[in-house]
């Protein structure tokens, strides 16, 4: 057991505490000639309780950034502070109670041969938490699933119910920072609405900080306060959601994304450029 001070912050809460501070964050995969620079020196800050969006297309490095913050990616350099603490390459087990992640595909992210109860139990066992049954009851209620789901297997659940289980699995460790990697892109729009409402509600009730990675600007606008737009491993623009809504994006790449997200238009299609 880790006997050092628990990373959960003391009761005298520092108001200026930042959920995440990343400075000159870089990610390189592979070595030598074959090295791929997925993230090239990215700097951003997420305030406590803020919902922060990262937008970009495939290969922009947005998911790599998220996986570094989650502690799932060790191939990074730069500086990263999570709730004021220096994040190490290999993190102590307890640090994962603060940061939890929900993945894109609820069909792939849940163990197919474990019941919902077992799935929810795992993290608590690793973190040596007490009162497990009561916590499970509570978290299931929080994500809008009843106790009857306890003994179901993932294949007995719909896509939306699975994503609720994945969110419950993240929340049961009582994290302060929730990382969401395209959490609704595998879902139908009617189910997406339910999950987005749930995330908004949970964020308010649990005073969570969120980082949402998505290619869908409307989803980011709905959930976040602020966003960065990434392209080719770099931040091209940082925007308040109000600016995004007014169409006040400055960088041509962001403007192009905005136009393309409205729907098909012959002139828009003809005007598209590759930015790098």
């Amino acid at each position: 057991m880790n006997r050092r001070t628990p990373p959960n912050e003391p009761s005298t809460e520092n108001l200026s505490l930042r959920a995440v501070e990343a400075a000159d964050l870089s990610v390189v995969y592979g070595q030598g000639d074959k090295a791929v620079h997925a993230v090239k020196g990215v700097t951003f800050t997420v305030s406590d309780g803020e919902a922060f969006g990262i937008v970009g297309e495939s290969g922009s490095g947005k998911s790599s950034v998220l996986r570094v913050v989650a502690g799932l990616n060790h191939a990074w350099s730069g500086r990263l502070l999570i709730r004021g603490r220096e994040a190490e390459k290999r993190r102590p087990r307890r640090s994962y109670r603060i940061v939890q992640m929900v993945f894109q595909d609820p069909y792939g992210s849940l163990h197919p041969r474990q019941t919902v109860e077992r799935i929810l139990m795992e993290g608590m066992a690793i973190q040596d938490m007490d009162d497990r049954h009561r916590r499970i009851q509570r978290v299931l209620y929080d994500v809008g699933l009843g106790g009857e789901f306890l003994y179901r297997y993932p294949h007995q659940l719909s896509g939306g119910q699975r994503q609720r289980v994945a969110i419950a699995r993240a929340l049961i460790l009582e994290p302060r920072l929730l990382l969401l990697d395209e959490p609704t892109s595998a879902l139908d729009v009617s189910v997406q609405a339910e999950i987005l409402n749930l995330l908004r509600d949970l964020r308010a009730r649990r005073r969570l900080s969120l980082i949402l990675v998505s290619h869908n600007l409307a989803v980011v606008a709905h959930l976040c306060d602020r966003l960065i737009v990434m392209n080719e491993g770099r931040i091209v623009e940082e925007l308040e959601i109000g600016e995004l809504r007014r169409g006040a994006a400055r960088h041509p790449y962001t403007q192009q994304l905005l136009r393309a997200s409205v729907g098909y238009d012959r002139a828009t299609a003809a005007s598209l450029v590759t930015y790098d």
């Binding site: 297309e57 495939s58 896509g159 139908d188 729009v189 009617s190 997406q192 609405a193 339910e194 987005l196 409402n197 908004r200 290619h215 600007l217 409307a218 989803v219 606008a221 709905h222 995004l244 809504r245 169409g247 192009q256 994304l257 905005l258 393309a260 997200s261 409205v262 729907g263 098909y264 238009d265 012959r266 828009t268 299609a269 003809a270 598209l272």
Partner: protein
Amino acid sequence: MALLEIEDLWVRFPGVRGPVEAVRGVDLSVGREKLGIVGESGSGKSCTGRSILRLLPRYATVTTRRAVFDGIDLAHASERDMRRIRGSRISMIMQDPKFSLNPVMTVGRQIAEAYLVHAEEESGAARRRTLEMLAAVRIRDPERIYGAYPHELSGGMGQRVMIAMMLITDPDLLIADEPCSALDVTVQMQVLAIIDDLVQRRGMGLIFISHDLNLVASFCDRVVVMYGGQIVETCAASELHEARHPYTRGLLAAMPRIDTPVDELPVLERDPAWLEPL
């Protein structure tokens, strides 16, 4: 005159508690136009598309009162007749090029093969046609891509290769099942522009299957909305945003919008009455 006319199409799959009805009495008429089929997963939209080319698994039961494509009775066509139609008169583009292309054969040979199967031509002509087709889908260096393997291509390029392969036989009808949902928005836009041009230039008919209402509304001429295996609404694509059916209205309302913030998204309340036979 319509290119394809289907009346009362049913698709059933065997289930533990009796047959599951995936498509329930669909009537469809497609001219030389862009017809969108929208709906959520399980609505029967893909089954409808696949049943036209008889691409459903053997255990599926497909029945129809009438299915006529350009004067050919599809309902009573033999397997041999269907082989002559598939690929040469009606083509289909699937969702993900990663799973639809042969990984151990160069892209050029795959496209040329599609051509040679249907046209009485020699391989030199097939090669020339393939290079023309690659240029038509705006691949910058057709010679290089001809010799490339699928894993060397990006998603957008792979999908363009698929389109080239499906259009090299100059079909009359193209069925595209979520052709760009695996692509980034800007790439998606470019792929759609290519399909759009080809449809207009060649006077092809297009059935565009998608879950994305905004995309279909902006891309197609006419839209049918499916729910529970039935068509619940048909309208001009430009009027989709004034749809009448509560299901369509519910779907439209459930989507977040960039320009108008809402605190809570309206959740679709499913009415069991929507499932009743129309």
